[in-house]
Structures are given as C-alpha cells and as structure tokens.
Subunit: 311 residues, 2 copies
C-alpha cells in the first residue's frame, strides 16, 4: 500500500469521520520528561478509531456489492463501526455476535442500524454463521483488522496527527488484531519526518511481541487482560507491515495499564478504554528511552461501561 492510497483513503472517508482533537497535559509531560500528544479517537464517531477502517472498507466495494450488504463477526467496537459506517452509506450490515454477548453491545449495534445475528459462542460457530450470510445474501465479509482497506483507514488517525504535529519522534499505539498499528506504521512511514512507530501490548496477550521474535504469527493461549480490545492476534495482511515498519513492541502489566488509564482519566479529563491506556503505559515503562522526545499517542477508543471500572 503506497502513500497515494493512504491519501486517497483519507479524502474518501473524510465526510464520514471526525478529525479528532489532540490533547496534552503539562503534568503527564513532566512525569514522562517528554512532550506527549494524545490523538483522541475516543471522540471519533461511535467512540473509536474503527470507524475509519470500516468506512473505507465499505466505500471501496463496488456499488453492486454494496447493495448486497456487508457482514462481520465482532462483539466489540468494529461491530458498531461497521453498522454506523454502513448506515451512513445506505448499506446493510449483518453483525454476527455470540448469544452471550452483553445486551448493551447488541443494543449499541442495533442503535446504529446493524442487523444482529446471534450464534453459539465459539469461533467455529461464528465463522459458519458469517459464511451462511455471505452465501444467503451475497454480503461481503469484512475483517475487523486483517484487511488492506481497513488498515489504510485506521492509518488516517496517525496521518491527521502528523498533519498537526509533523515533527513527532514517536507514535505509540496499542496492538490488538494489528489493523491500527499497521495503519499507523504506514502513515508514519509516509508522513513522518522521520517518525518511529511503537506498539504497546499487554504482557498477558503478547502474541504480537512473540510474533515479531519468531517471524510467524503467534496466538495467545490465555487472554487474562483488562484490555479487552487487544485479545485478538495478527493476520497475514497486517503482520508483514508490522514486521517492516514497527520499530518496537513494549509489553506492560495489568497494573501499569490501570495506572495509565487513571492518569488519562484524571489528568486529561477524558474517558478512554483500558486498551487505549496501554500506549501510555508503554511510555511510562520505558521513560528513559522517551526522555526529551515528542511522542504521539493514539487514544484508540472510549466505549466503556462506567459501572464496571478497574478503580
């Protein structure tokens, strides 16, 4: 994917996304000993960066396919993103969700016009269900992270950040399925001056860290992390980009994630997901490396249930 494609993608999705604000905190800067610029995708439409990739993926389908709808399986932010992006484009979105997903998540998808299709809570069941919808409706399957158009879309957050702060030394983003970090790495590669991209990953689900070491896509045998958006593993589309353009993955503990989340809530006065806090936690854990630098942080999303907080 070249620079031109990223520029075109950004122009394409602009009517459907917010150019989100960038916030700073004197106190956090003092604590890190650096200048940190928070790109607030928690203020993005539907509350997360996923809106970018979802919009781009649908818009890149030929009209004839758009008319048949799109399908994905997700119980997280991509379900809401695909629903809302599809709604804005007049496209049907079928969202396969496990029966036991929280009702509030099903309602959120329905609220954005998505059609919720329930399945048994197994990987096999949800893939079978998605295939059935592809066959029955001719709907196009869109993967939440392992899709070139999704990756390009997610990269536009970093592109916007570099438009305002072109001289960032680093951009740090959380690593889950790999769509955000791959897109961010492409954007920093094409628009940085130069700018290194670093991933933050929970120690409890450090599949990306291990994948970079082994050179093959690793998975997690357990997923005991509060960062519920980061439990998935990389795919064959984003892994090569991460191998080429991500300079480092920093792993953080659950306590470090919660402490960074508290810092963002109390100091920046914004609501972010635990997954988002992983990036700041990574910076705190390697302060020496970041001393005196200009650092961008992608605050990936803000969809939390305030009745269920870690503090």
């Amino acid at each position: 994917m070249d620079k031109h494609q990223l520029i075109e993608c950004h122009e394409r999705i602009k009517p459907y996304i917010h150019n989100t604000p960038v916030l700073t905190s004197h106190l956090i800067d003092q604590m890190v000993g650096a200048s940190v610029f928070f790109k607030c995708e928690n203020f993005q439409k539907m509350g997360a960066f996923k809106m970018r990739g979802a919009a781009n993926a649908i818009m890149q389908l030929p009209k004839a396919l758009q008319q048949k709808g799109v399908v994905t399986h997700s119980s997280g932010n991509f379900a809401q993103a695909l629903s809302l992006a599809a709604q804005g484009l007049g496209v049907k979105a079928f969202i396969v969700m496990p029966k036991n997903a929280p009702q509030v998540k099903k309602n959120a998808v329905k609220g954005y016009g998505g059609i919720v299709i329930e399945c048994d809570p197994t990987l096999e069941a949800r893939e079978r269900q998605a295939r059935m919808i592809e066959e029955e409706h001719g709907a196009t399957f869109i993967h939440p992270s392992n899709d070139d158009n999704v990756i390009l879309g997610q990269g536009t957050a970093c592109k916007e950040l570099l438009e305002v702060y072109p001289n960032l030394d680093y951009v740090v983003a959380p690593v889950g399925g790999g769509g955000l970090i791959a897109g961010t790495a492409l954007a920093a590669h094409y628009f940085g001056n130069p700018c290194q991209v670093i991933g933050g990953e929970p120690l409890e689900v450090d599949d990306a860290y291990r994948s970079l070491q082994s050179g093959t896509i690793e998975t997690n045998s357990t997923t005991n992390t509060i960062a519920d958006g980061l439990k998935t593993h990389l795919g064959d589309r984003n892994f090569p980009i991460i191998q080429n353009y991500v300079s480092q993955i920093i792993r953080v503990t659950e306590d470090e994630i919660i402490e960074a989340m508290r810092m963002i809530w109390e100091r920046l006065k914004i609501v972010c997901e635990p997954s988002s806090a992983v990036a700041l936690a990574a910076i705190f854990s390697k302060k020496l490396q970041f001393k005196g630098k200009k650092i961008g942080v992608i605050v990936s999303g803000g969809n939390v249930d305030v009745n269920n907080l870690p503090f």
Copy 2:
C-alpha cells in the same frame, strides 16, 4: 458591572486561561429533543472554570498589593485556581484549609505553588485564620464566589460559548456559591441574542431556589449531595445579579445528577464532576420546556477522584 468590564476582563485573563472546546452528542440531542452545546471547563487549567475568576481577581489588584499575596479559604477548586493563577502571576497564595481536608487536595494546592495553612474544621476557625494572614502578611482576601472580579472572570466561559454559538436560546449552569451563575447571567445579558440563563441546583441544597422565592439569601441546614461543589450559599454581590438576570432555577434529585453524569461520561467521553452534571440533569428534568431549542451547558469542572465514583 457593564459590558465593557466583561470584555476587558476577558482580554486581561486570556493569556492565563484556555478557550475551552465545545462538544456535542447526537444521542444526547436526540434524548433531549434539542441541540445541546457543552462548554468543557473540565479542560480548563487546573480542571475547572474557577481559574478564570481567580486570575481576574489577582490581576485587578494594584501591584503593591499583589506583592503581599492573596489568601482564601477553600478545600475545593478555588483553592487550586487561586494557587495556579497566583503562581503564573508571581504572586504568593495562602490557602486556608481544614486540617481534615483530604491529603490529595492539599497536595494539589501545593503542586500549584499554593501555601497551605491548616485550621480547625469550623467556619469560625477558617475565617479567623484567614484574617490572621491578612493582618500578618498584608495579603488580600479573595472570596471564591462573592467578589465582582471573580464573577466577571467566571462569566467569560459563557462569553466564549456565545462567540461560537451566538444564537443559543438558553445557557444552563450549576448554582453553588453563585459566582458562575451570576457571571454567566451577565455574559448572556450582554452577548446573548437574546439568551436566557437557567440554574441547575441539587434539591438537597436548594438555597438559591429558596432565596429567589423569599428575596433574601437563604442557607442550607443539611448538605447531603454528591455535588460537593454546590454546598455553599449565595452572597450579597452575586445575589442581586441572579435576581435580575437568571430566569429560573431547576432543582434535581441525586439520582438525576448521577444519571446525567453517567450520560456525560459515557456519551461525551469526558470526565466531569457531579456538580457539572447538575446542569444536564436540569435539562432532562424539564425536557418539554427545552424541546427544539439551542442550549448551552457549562461543564464546570473535571476534578474527581476516580476511586470514589457513584457508579
């Protein structure tokens, strides 16, 4: 206080304050049946609108008095505001706080360069202590809300809001000591087109509501509200302004405050104080009145302890 004074005040304090952003939410608009514009003073320096009035009050002192310092008694946001404003202006700030105030609040004041003077936790003790500092140092006492220069400063938040959205039908702000609502009322009177100002007040500390009914300043015999910034009563400087320019005070229950706070956190993705949520709670409680209108809301502050949340 005339229009010219409000304009001059705003110009004076601009270097020391943020012109805070205004946020909106489609979902909240749908729920209210109106357009609501949230002026986010939780993003103000030190996390609350109080920075505005504190800066103005200090700057209006003659240089000779500035050199002797300022003093106030507060364990809340005004303590931090006066400390930070004084620090920026090279002025000493003595902050009288009850011995039993939370250590985190004392530390916040010290962090902003304030000099904490502890006293017994009674009204009499803190007033005596403040007077001693006035006499000993020649420091000028600055009241958190019952002071013309403080009132003018607080009004600049509404002035900024009307600069961006000149056609608001209403601005709603919480009522505590009366500085914010009085300043807001002045700003709406001079810069509205026209624009009515409405106060939101907890039913549990409805002194301002009762004061407007009786025509004299009433107090609260109990203060059982989560909106800890709103427990104080009006003063002789702000009460006449409120009588003249505030069109209505809407009282809300504790449950309504918590529900509005949850709405702001989950939908706007920002951290606000319970006191701030009182304004949105007031709008929800009188939806019929606000239907189809353009409404500004002053989100007064965001200094909360995330370990001690109502949800």
